[in-house]
Structures are given as structure tokens and as C-alpha cells.
């Protein structure tokens, strides 16, 4: 049902959804059972004329079972949840399948900058393709991403991938994803990062091999042209005043 509202576009999106469902069912069913019991008990032992209220200590075994049995059931369900969560954690966070490509993601107030290694497959070379607020990836390829923040805490969130990773300045986070569905999906920031946090969005374009190759060639040519034309002065762009 989740997929009906939010497409699953990565290899591990189904695992995340399954975990969400397990949690939702266990907690949901338990919530309903507890609330039904709660209100039934209130009704059953409501104030009645001629019946004095009495304090129940709960020492008797048949009364104590009202606590013990649910308690033990909750413990068993907790173990089930922990096992399910660890399984997904190991699959997504502790396992890094070999990468077909590596991309760099830089977060800053309030934009995303993506660096694709370009045709040579190496980052920080002249043919890198750098884009702002638009990320292009190839379907059915495993990507490693190196996520950094330039200023404050951000969170790289791709709902269709079921991927969310915090980014803090001074640290490079490595993760992975494998797109399984072509199309255009949302990227957003999931960590309050300032006044324009709410509009710090970007576009993820998952393409076929042919589409991605065409995009890459067009933009790698642009990158080479821009590089050749770069004749910037030596000062930093922000031009710190000498007296500061």
C-alpha cells in the first residue's frame, strides 16, 4: 500500500517498507487491544449504586496475570522488532556492495551540489559533472555516495529510495543506493537547517543507460569548456576584507 502513495525506486526500499509495516502492525494491533481493554475495564467497573469502591493490590495471581501476560508478550514482540530492524540495518548500513559509480553530494544552506565523476569515473578531475539541485543516476547501477555538509547539519533525504542520511560539517558520510525504477523523484533536506530549510529541495533523475550516457556526454563537454575558460583571479570569491 505504501508503494501506491510513494514509489519504491531503490533496491532496499522494499526492506524499509517491510520494517515499517511490521512496526505498524505490531504497535497498531497492540494499541487497539490495549484501548479496548482500557475502555472495557472502565465500563465494567464503573460506579454503581450500592457497590463501594475498593483498592486492588494486584497480589493475587489471577489479577497479576493482567500485567505479566501482556508484559511478556511485549518482550517477545520487542525482540521480533529488534531482529527485523537489525536485519535491515545490516543490509543497508553495514553492507556496502561494490560500486559501479561514486558520486559526491555536498549540502549547504540551502542547496545540494552533486558531483558526478564524468566519463573517466574519477571525482575531482576536469571532466566532473557538477550540478546544483539536480542529480542524474543510471538505473540498476550501484552507487556509492560521499555526503558532506559545507556549513550546518543537513539530512539527505530521498523518499522514493527510502534513504535518509544526516550530514554534519567536518565529516564525510559514505552510503550507497541502487536505483531500480526510472523517473524523476524528490530530494529534500530532513534536518532543520535555517530559514530556507523548507525549500531546500532537489530533483533526482533516474535514467536508462542510453539517457544517462547522453546526459553525461552533454554535460562533460560543458564542464570541459567551463574549465578551459576559467581564468579567475586568485582571490577567493567571497573576497575577505584585508582589514578583517
Amino acid at each position: 500500500m505504501l508503494e501506491h502513495y510513494l514509489p519504491r525506486a531503490s533496491s532496499f526500499a522494499g526492506d524499509i517498507d517491510q520494517l515499517v509495516w511490521i512496526i505498524a502492525w505490531i504497535v497498531g494491533v497492540w494499541f487497539v487491544v490495549v484501548e479496548v481493554m482500557f475502555f472495557w475495564l472502565m465500563f465494567r467497573f464503573r460506579k454503581k449504586p450500592g457497590v463501594p469502591a475498593r483498592y486492588i493490590t494486584g497480589k493475587e495471581k489471577h489479577l497479576k496475570n493482567w500485567i505479566n501476560i501482556p508484559h511478556n508478550i511485549i518482550l517477545v514482540l520487542d525482540v521480533l522488532l529488534i531482529v527485523a530492524a537489525i536485519r535491515v540495518w545490516v543490509l543497508i548500513k553495514q553492507t556496502m556492495p561494490p560500486a559501479d559509480h561514486t558520486v559526491k553530494v555536498m549540502a549547504q544552506q540551502w542547496a545540494w551540489t552533486f558531483t558526478d565523476p564524468g566519463p573517466d569515473g574519477k571525482i575531482d578531475t576536469p571532466d566532473d559533472v557538477r550540478t546544483t539541485d539536480e542529480m542524474h543516476v543510471e538505473v540498476n547501477k550501484t552507487y556509492h555516495f560521499v555526503l558532506e555538509s559545507m556549513d550546518v547539519a543537513h539530512s539527505f533525504f530521498i523518499p522514493a529510495f527510502r534513504l535518509k542520511q544526516d550530514a554534519d560539517p567536518g565529516r564525510a558520510y559514505t552510503g550507497w543506493f541502487k536505483p531500480t525504477k526510472t523517473g524523476t523523484f524528490d530530494i529534500s533536506c530532513a534536518e532543520i537547517c535555517g530559514i530556507a530549510h523548507g525549500v531546500m529541495g532537489a530533483k533526482l533523475v533516474v535514467e536508462t543507460t542510453q539517457e544517462h550516457t547522453a546526459w553525461m556526454q552533454a554535460h562533460a563537454a560543458d564542464a570541459a569548456t567551463a574549465d578551459a575558460g576559467a581564468s579567475a583571479p586568485t582571490d577567493s570569491t567571497t573576497a575577505q576584507p584585508a582589514s578583517q
Binding site: 530556507a196 525549500v199 579567475a232 582571490d235 570569491t237 567571497t238 573576497a239 582589514s243
Partner: protein, 215 residues
């Protein structure tokens, strides 16, 4: 009895608040612009005089046509979309928040009416004599002899602006971080002019001269 009185009071308060919110008339024009300016304050300051630490320029008193042009460029990715333009990345999404018809015009009208302030020089380097030659040979054509700009040429006033901001913008034009889009005609013109400056020293010289213009 007392409980009923409390419940009545709370119900009256809720209903009054709801009716008050329904009857509030949306502000228009400069009044609306003043409301929108609340989003500009965190970076550009209460008085719109900019903030060096955040690399935000002084905007108070800038002509409304220039503010409209620039905000529209930010909104349309004609400015601030270069991956290296860190300051532009901050302004661009905020420009996108002005999405109702009239928002940009209203906030521009308000900002243009704010008292302008001449920003004193912060750089110690810069040869004003050499800068004068550049200014009177290149910049004067559009920004005029007094540095007050020219609406017909879409050139903004620069005499009052912070020197660090002006040098930073020259750098951005030079690197192609601003004026990069073929659709940004006037930005492209400025980029061509910035490319006539050989190096950082030439930029500091011309801006040092700009700060000597009468204000």
C-alpha cells in the same frame, strides 16, 4: 457551575480567534512588502544594510527595478545556480518563496523605500589612481560617473555598496559564477566587462576608487 463558566469562556475565546482570523484583510503593496521583508532580515539585517559574516549585501534603498530583476533571476536560476556560488545558493531558495503574484514587486517597493546607507571601505589595499583609470574607461559607461547606476542600462548603483561585496561580485562575474546564462543579458554584459580586469589587484583598485565617489 464554575466549570460551565470556564468552558464558556474558552469556547468564546476560540470562536473569537477564528472569526478574527477570517475577517483579517490581507495586506497589499508596501505593507505586504514589509511583511515579506521579515524573511530577508535574518541575512540582510533589520535595516537592510547587509552582513559581512553572511556575505549579504546592503539592499536598503536599492532601486525597485533592480531588486525585481535580481530576485527574478535568482528565482529562475539565472543567478545563484552555479555549484560554486555559495552565497547565491542561500538567496536562490528564498527568492522561490516569493511565489504569489506581486510578492517580488511589493518587497522590492518596501526595500527601495528603506533608508540607504553608504557602506564605508573595509579594504586597506587598492590603488585609487589605477582604479580611476579603469572606472573612467570601462565602468562609467553603464554605472555613470557618480556610480549611481542607470535604469535604462539596467546597471545598479554601486557607490554606496560594501567594497567586499563589489569585489566578490567582480570575482563571480570573472569566474562565470554570475552572468553565466545566455538568458541573463545584462549579467552577460557585466561578465564581459569583469573579464577586462586582469587580476584581483585590478578589482581591488577599481573598487577602492568606487569608494571615493561622493555619497
Amino acid at each position: 457551575m464554575l466549570q460551565r463558566a470556564y468552558a464558556g469562556l474558552i469556547a468564546a475565546a476560540v470562536i473569537s480567534a477564528f472569526l478574527a482570523s477570517c475577517s483579517a484583510t490581507p495586506k497589499t503593496g508596501i505593507a505586504h512588502g514589509e511583511e515579506l521583508f521579515q524573511n530577508c532580515k535574518p541575512c540582510h539585517g533589520e535595516a537592510g544594510h547587509g552582513n559581512l559574516e553572511l556575505r549579504t549585501p546592503a539592499i536598503a534603498g536599492l532601486p525597485d527595478w533592480y531588486i525585481i530583476e535580481q530576485v527574478t533571476k535568482f528565482k529562475g536560476d539565472l543567478r545563484g545556480a552555479n555549484p560554486d556560488d555559495m552565497e547565491g545558493h542561500r538567496m536562490r531558495p528564498l527568492a522561490r518563496t516569493l511565489y504569489h503574484p506581486g510578492d517580488i514587486e511589493n518587497v522590492a517597493a518596501y526595500v527601495s523605500k528603506m533608508p540607504s546607507q553608504w557602506m564605508p571601505p573595509t579594504f586597506t589595499k587598492g590603488d585609487t589612481a589605477a582604479g580611476s583609470v579603469t572606472f573612467n574607461g570601462v565602468c562609467i559607461t553603464c554605472h555613470m560617473a557618480d556610480g549611481k547606476g542607470n535604469k535604462d542600462l539596467h546597471s545598479p548603483p554601486i557607490a554606496q555598496q560594501s567594497d567586499w561585496y563589489l569585489v566578490a561580485q567582480l570575482n563571480k562575474f570573472h569566474r562565470g559564477w554570475r552572468g553565466y546564462s545566455p538568458e541573463d543579458v545584462y549579467g552577460g554584459q557585466m561578465r564581459a566587462m569583469a573579464l577586462t580586469l586582469a587580476d584581483s589587484t585590478a578589482m581591488h583598485n577599481v573598487i577602492a576608487y568606487v569608494k571615493t565617489l561622493p555619497h
